[in-house]
């Protein structure tokens, strides 16, 4: 009785199709990240070249925290900085897709061009480590800007085509 | 011995019947067509006409009707068995009887004699019923003083019925008494003859008083 059998199959499909069925393991998304043993800051060596420095802070922290930490200076590491020291520095960061806007407690004149690179690289490194895309630009907002000081910048050490995003 | 006019178109049949009827003592004249037959009839009126229905020219029915118009000479038709229309039409044309071809001369002779038979046992009384007066010895009938002309068959039928007014005669009885037919006689002979008799003696033939129909049985005379 082929007709009866096919009718049964159709009915079974109809009735069995409802509800959530168990499934196998499915790859769904990137794993979350943002965990790190410390933060990476960028300073200048004797030749004025940009160099990363690991700070064993025990956690990654935010972009603003990393930049603030950078503004405190290189300490006793033997490295230099292109940013004028300041009393209890405090940076603020606003992250929008593609751009990080950093509000610095400094005038544009207090930061050398390599110093600006230091800030940009530090912010981007933290941004990437906490899962953000490498293709992100950084705008620096100084207390006293100079012409072109707030143009979007990138880090010469971090390729936007780096692995990851 | 009767004078018979035989109207028959086939010469051999005609000659054979002339011979046979002659041997039965009849005086036979013959004619081959309706026209010559009617001429012969006019030239000398016979006692009886034996008429073949299938004639060239004026056919048998027409010949019969013309003979009937001239008087009361009886007519016997020659017909083919089962040609019922012939029989019906022939009787309506006024024939007294019919025989089926091929007919044995003895049978035809008996019919001839029956048709021509005179009522002798009628007695000599005069029966008067209303306007109708039947003289059984003179064999004359008159209605309201006017003489009525009847063929011998019609007269015999009237005499038979009026002999016992009120008595019902079945068709087979009448066939036997009036036509001398056996059980197989054709009852249409009776019906047709009654029809003709009524047109002659009844005031309104459609509503007869003398010859009345008894549905399912036959006919009776009166009661008035």
């Amino acid at each position: 009785m082929n007709r009866a059998r096919s009718a049964t199959v159709v009915a079974a499909l109809l009735l069995g199709g409802c509800g959530v069925q168990p499934s196998g393991v499915t790859d769904a998304a990137e794993a979350p990240t943002g965990i790190a043993p410390g933060v990476t800051l960028y300073f200048l060596d004797q030749n004025g070249t940009l160099r990363p420095q690991q700070r064993r802070s025990g956690r990654l922290g935010t972009v603003a925290e990393a930049v603030t930490l950078l503004l405190y200076g290189p300490g006793q590491s033997g490295l230099r900085t292109g940013i004028s020291p300041s009393e209890s520095p405090r940076a603020e960061a606003v992250t929008t897709p593609g751009t990080i806007e950093l509000r610095l407690p400094l005038a544009a004149g207090e930061v050398t061009p390599p110093g600006a690179d230091q800030i940009v690289c530090t912010a981007l490194a933290t941004h990437i480590q906490s899962g953000g895309p490498a293709r992100t630009t950084v705008r620096l907002i100084f207390t006293i800007p100079e012409p072109g000081s707030d143009t979007p910048r990138t880090c010469p050490l971090i390729s936007p085509r780096a692995p990851g995003r | 011995m009767a004078s018979v006019l035989l109207i028959e178109d086939d010469p051999l049949v005609r000659r054979g019947m002339e011979l046979a009827l002659g041997r039965h003592g009849h005086d036979v004249r013959s004619a081959a067509t309706g026209e010559t037959g009617l001429r012969e009839f006019a030239a000398s009126v016979p006692d009886l006409v034996v008429l073949d229905l299938m004639l060239p020219g004026v056919d048998g029915f027409e010949v019969c009707r013309r003979i009937r118009r001239t008087g009361d000479v009886p007519v016997i038709m020659l017909t083919a068995r089962g040609d019922d229309w012939d029989v019906v039409e022939g009787l309506e044309a006024g024939a007294d009887d019919y025989v089926i071809k091929p007919v044995q001369p003895t049978v035809l002779d008996a019919r001839i004699r029956a048709v021509l038979r005179r009522i002798t046992s009628g007695g000599d009384e005069v029966r008067t019923h209303g306007d109708l007066r039947i003289d059984t010895s003179a064999l004359t009938v008159s209605r309201a003083g006017e003489p009525v002309s009847l063929t011998p068959t019609e007269l015999r039928l009237l005499l038979t019925l009026s002999r016992a007014p009120g008595r019902v005669f079945s068709r087979t009885q009448l066939l036997e008494e009036v036509w001398e037919h056996d059980y197989l006689g054709d009852s249409r002979l009776v019906d047709n003859c009654v029809q003709r008799l009524r047109t002659k003696i009844e005031k309104t033939p459609a509503d007869p008083v003398y010859v009345q129909t008894v549905r399912g049985f036959g006919y009776r005379f009166g009661p008035l």
Binding site: V10, G17, V20, A31, A36, P37, G164 | V13, A20, P102
Partner: protein, 468 residues
């Protein structure tokens, strides 16, 4: 196969409705299925994104390597039904931890990716989400941190919505059933109308209306069938017409021939008596010759009359002239007319009124009695009787009876008992008797009596109808 309806209309209707219903049901079901899948997928994406965001929001502030407090914080950030592990440490809450399957754990451990799995536990559908938390280097490279997060999300809400979708799909399919039935009805009508017309035509053909045709419509198989049936009817009609023409010709020939015989027979009949009267005076040879001529002429007359009678039956011109008669009287008169009253016993219970044709009934009685007297032996007996609607006559003889092989043929024309064709009858008598009985609407059957003699049984309706 009993349960499957047999009528073409019902079958067509059921099949069409079933197909339409199945199609609508399948479409609705497929729609519901894909909608359900899409729903499940988007819900799953939303859940994983939420978990990713929850984890990602808290990780930068988590110390690494983590201690128990750190794991607890992470677990709290993800929400209930969550397990967080790091090497030997573990922080668990709710149902989630118990549901984690080995294959999910393996997938989390082996790949740097977030994975999901749907499970059903205790009737409740769950989405399991498992992910490692990875450490991303400045250059973008990622490596596992050793922290794994497992969490379970209840899918009962989605399940309910999928059930709703399925139910509405079934509802839609059910709604389509009356529509499907209506369409099927229309389709069945349009298909069956020509079939019905064809059936009517075939019925008329079967009933003898050979002029019946159906106009073929369209160019489908049914039209082909119609054309074929029309052709068949046409050829049957043509051959029937040819056969009828031949039959009519044969009958007309017989009628004409017997008719033409009548004129010479009339002459012969007229002169035979003359011959008979004079035969006594002839020499013996001439006398015998004359008598033979007379006897044969009588036979010839009888044969010609019978042939004409048969022709009239064949032509349908035989007329019935019914009168009120008594069967007992009719039988006795027939026998008396032929001088057979002393050779045939008649048993009648009393008057047997019947409406019949006197002359035709006489022919029947004469033929039956004559047949018994000629072919059977004494005693020949006629028993009469009546039922409420009929009168009957039974004619039996004391002869050897009819042979079983003869029974089907006794009423055939020119059939004679035995091989001899020289008997007194001409072989038309019983055939004519049967035709006369049929004309009355009666029955005539032949058989053998218990005593062994032949037995003919005649039934006539009491009120035969006049014809013509």
């Amino acid at each position: 196969m009993r349960w499957w309806p047999r009528g073409l209309r019902v079958r067509l209707l059921a099949a069409c409705a079933l197909v339409a219903f199945a199609a609508a049901g399948a479409a609705a079901w497929a729609g519901a299925e894909s909608a359900g899948d899409a729903l499940l997928a988007s819900h799953g994406q939303q859940l994983t994104r939420t978990v990713t965001d929850q984890v990602g929001a808290v990780t930068p502030s988590l110390s690494y390597p983590p201690d128990q407090a750190t794991l607890d914080r992470l677990r709290a950030a993800v929400g209930g039904d969550t397990l967080v592990t790091y090497r030997g440490l573990r922080s668990a809450a709710g149902t989630g931890p118990g549901l984690v399957t080995p294959e999910l754990r393996d997938a989390v451990r082996d790949g740097n990716r977030l994975v999901t799995q749907r499970v059903v536990a205790g009737g409740t559908p769950w989405l399991l989400i498992g992910t490692p938390v990875v450490i991303t280097a400045v250059d973008g490279t990622r490596r596992p941190s050793g922290i794994e997060v497992y969490t379970a999300r209840d899918l009962t809400g989605v399940d309910g919505r999928i059930d709703d979708l399925t139910r509405s799909a079934i509802g839609a399919a059910a709604l389509s059933l009356p529509l499907a039935a209506l369409l099927a009805l229309l389709a069945a009508r349009s298909v069956l109308r020509p079939v019905r017309e064809l059936r009517d035509t075939a019925g008329r053909l079967a009933a003898g209306d050979l002029g019946a045709r159906t106009a073929p419509v369209g160019a489908d198989e049914l039209a082909d069938l119609t054309v074929t049936i029309n052709e068949m009817a046409g050829s049957v009609q043509a051959s029937m017409a040819a056969m009828r023409r031949m039959q009519a010709d044969a009958r007309r020939f017989a009628a004409d021939a017997s008719h033409e015989l009548r004129t010479p027979l009339s002459t012969l009949t007229a002169v035979m008596e003359v011959l008979a009267d004079t035969a006594d005076d002839m020499e013996p040879d001439a006398r015998e010759s004359a008598r033979l001529a007379i006897a044969e002429t009588r036979r010839l007359v009888r044969l010609a009359e019978d042939l004409m009678e048969v022709s009239r039956f064949d032509a349908g011109t035989a007329a019935l002239r019914v009168e009120e008669i008594d069967l007992a009287v009719a039988v006795r008169e027939s026998l008396r007319a032929r001088g057979w009253l002393d050779r045939v016993e008649v048993e009648a219970p009393g008057p047997l009124p019947v409406r019949a044709d006197r002359r035709r009934l006489d022919v029947v009685v004469a033929n039956l009695a004559g047949n018994a007297l000629r072919h059977g032996g004494p005693p020949v007996r006629v028993r009469l009787g009546a039922t409420p609607g009929e009168v009957w006559a039974e004619v039996t003889d004391g002869g050897p009876g009819l042979a079983a092989s003869a029974l089907p043929h006794v009423f055939e024309r020119f059939w004679k008992a035995g091989s001899s064709r020289t008997g007194p009858g001409n072989g038309l008598g019983l055939a004519i008797a049967l035709e006369n009985v049929r004309l009355h609407g009666g029955r005539l059957t032949a058989g053998n009596a218990d005593g062994g003699g032949a037995r003919f049984l005649l039934h006539l309706p009491r009120d035969a109808q006049e014809t013509r």
